[in-house]
């Protein structure tokens, strides 16, 4: 009996690992194609030999793709870094207020923030363009940074509120008794322990702003100013561009967020969970 049981167990363990490995291969398949094609010269790229490994490590596709998308890569960096930092700072203050300074109606306001976070951008694109144009910000990088900061308000408030909610209220009360005011409590009690929350929120905002396509496409219609996602789409959209260049361009565009994810996967995971509203 015991023997039969363990045999059955062995079989089910095998099935579990086989399924996981099959899915892992499936998930890695597009990566294989991207990386594999990127290291081939154009003469080696053919529809019949797509899955074959390159004959040597050819770096020419990367340098050519880089020469095409590097200005846009820089634009993305100029937009993403300040927008991520500013929206994290705003979120940290808002999350502090929503969790520690509740007033009548604050929960309703928070709920309205959250609803706003979920609604699709298509419902606001037309007024957004008109308003940016009226303030001379349409088609400019500061305009795009501003928009990303505004649309980052709900999610960053949610993430910081969740984090600060776990800070005992007694600590805040002690601060009040010690004569700390609104900003004193923020600076002396919450900020010193908020580093992990800042890391999670910064990472989250960096990833989502870097990967944004629609806002960048709408606000920065000039291809020279466009973010890297739009540049990669333009590369891919023109059928004359060689596949190896399209693939290496895509890899260059994906590199910052992939590197950040591989280095800080745990924080990314926490952002995933904090961003889902649940709890």
């Amino acid at each position: 009996m015991r023997h039969a049981f363990s045999l059955k167990r062995l079989w089910s363990r095998g099935a579990i690992y086989a399924t996981l490995i099959a899915f892992a291969l499936y998930f890695l398949m597009p990566v294989y194609v991207l990386v594999n094609t990127s290291f081939k010269p154009y003469t080696e790229v053919s529809i019949a030999r797509m899955w074959e490994l390159p004959q040597g490590l050819y770096l020419g596709s990367f340098s050519e793709a880089w020469s095409k998308v590097s200005p846009n890569f820089l634009n993305s960096l100029i937009v993403t870094v300040p927008a991520a930092i500013i929206s994290s700072l705003i979120g940290s203050l808002n999350g502090y207020i929503f969790s520690k300074w509740r007033f009548r109606g604050s929960n309703t306001i928070f709920l309205l923030f959250l609803i706003g976070m979920f609604l699709p951008y298509q419902g606001i694109l037309i007024p957004m363009v008109l308003t940016l144009r009226a303030f001379g910000l349409y088609g400019t990088i500061p305009g795009l940074i501003f928009i990303h900061c505004v649309f980052g308000i709900p999610i960053t408030a949610l993430m910081f509120r969740t984090y600060y909610a776990n800070v005992p209220d007694d600590l805040v009360d002690a601060g009040k008794i010690d004569g700390c005011g609104f900003f004193g409590i923020y600076r002396h009690i919450l900020l010193p322990i908020a580093a992990p929350a800042f890391a999670v929120v910064l990472l989250w905002q960096f990833t989502s702003i870097w990967n944004d396509f629609i806002i960048g496409l709408v606000v920065l219609s000039n291809p020279r100013l466009a973010p890297v996602t739009v540049a990669v789409q333009n590369l891919a959209g023109s059928f004359t561009t060689e596949w190896n260049i399209q693939m290496s361009g895509a890899l260059i565009a994906a590199a910052p967020t992939i590197i950040v994810y591989l280095l800080l996967g745990k924080l990314f995971m926490r952002g995933l969970l904090a961003g889902s509203v649940k709890g």
Partner: protein
Amino acid sequence: MAVSQTHLSALSPTVHKRRINRDLVIAIVALTPSIIAVAIFIYTFIAWTFYVSLANWNTSVVDYTFTGLGHWERMFNSFRFQMDLRNLALYALGFMSQCIVIGFLLASLLDQHIKGEAVFRTIFIFPFAVSAVVTGVAWRWLMRPDTGINLLFEQLGLGFLKSNWFSDPTFGILFVTIASSWQFSGYIMALYLAALRGIPAEVREAAQIDGCNTWNLYRHIIIPMLAPVTFTAIVLTGMGAIRVFDIVMVMSGTGQAFSTDMLATHMFEQMFTANRFSAAAVIGSFMIILSALLVVPYLLSVRKEQEQ
């Protein structure tokens, strides 16, 4: 603590109270810019879009003349919009079912004390860190009829599985969901995995003592316990289906006879290619209504749960 106590006695209760009231006012003032920003850039803009949908703005020149629901009627009667609705139904079906089934399956498998769990987890979640544009570039190449997966099928002797993928004039949009689910399933897996880890070991032990096999354990105990996560997953993937834009633009575009057109791509073309702003606003407003129907009940139920 001694310090606080002296402070407490030094401050009379009324001074202390007044101090807190003053700080509460500061808190509200500090929150005000964000409230104004959300009120303008989200809620006023939505109302503005609704108004444009009722106006008569069909060229690049702004025209706010009120015309009523005419643009709505024309939109709902147009072939392209009806294709969008059909495609949304197909896309939602494909995307939601793949994300939830794959996400749940992978989470339950990873929860079985797997060696190398971290490696698997990293592989399954990393597509979420990649933009939809990059995802689309890779899958567009994979789904070319003359190479990619078809070539792989042929080499593996599975030639009968060959497909036109997203170029299929009827079900092309379903194949786009393969790529978008590839990107999003890992997120759903992460949600399920966190919830599975939150189920106390006693629950499983008690079930085992009662002679419950694995199938029944999942069927009658674990899956019902995960219902809130499934609800979240339905809302998140449903929202993803309503708003999908990037990946469709990169992979298939609007397709042959709009076979892969979606609300967002249609809206974008009405706005930027045709300058038909009122028509674009109809689609934008419709997307807001659809999303609100999904999101508002969800957020209200989450809030109710937290209050209890």
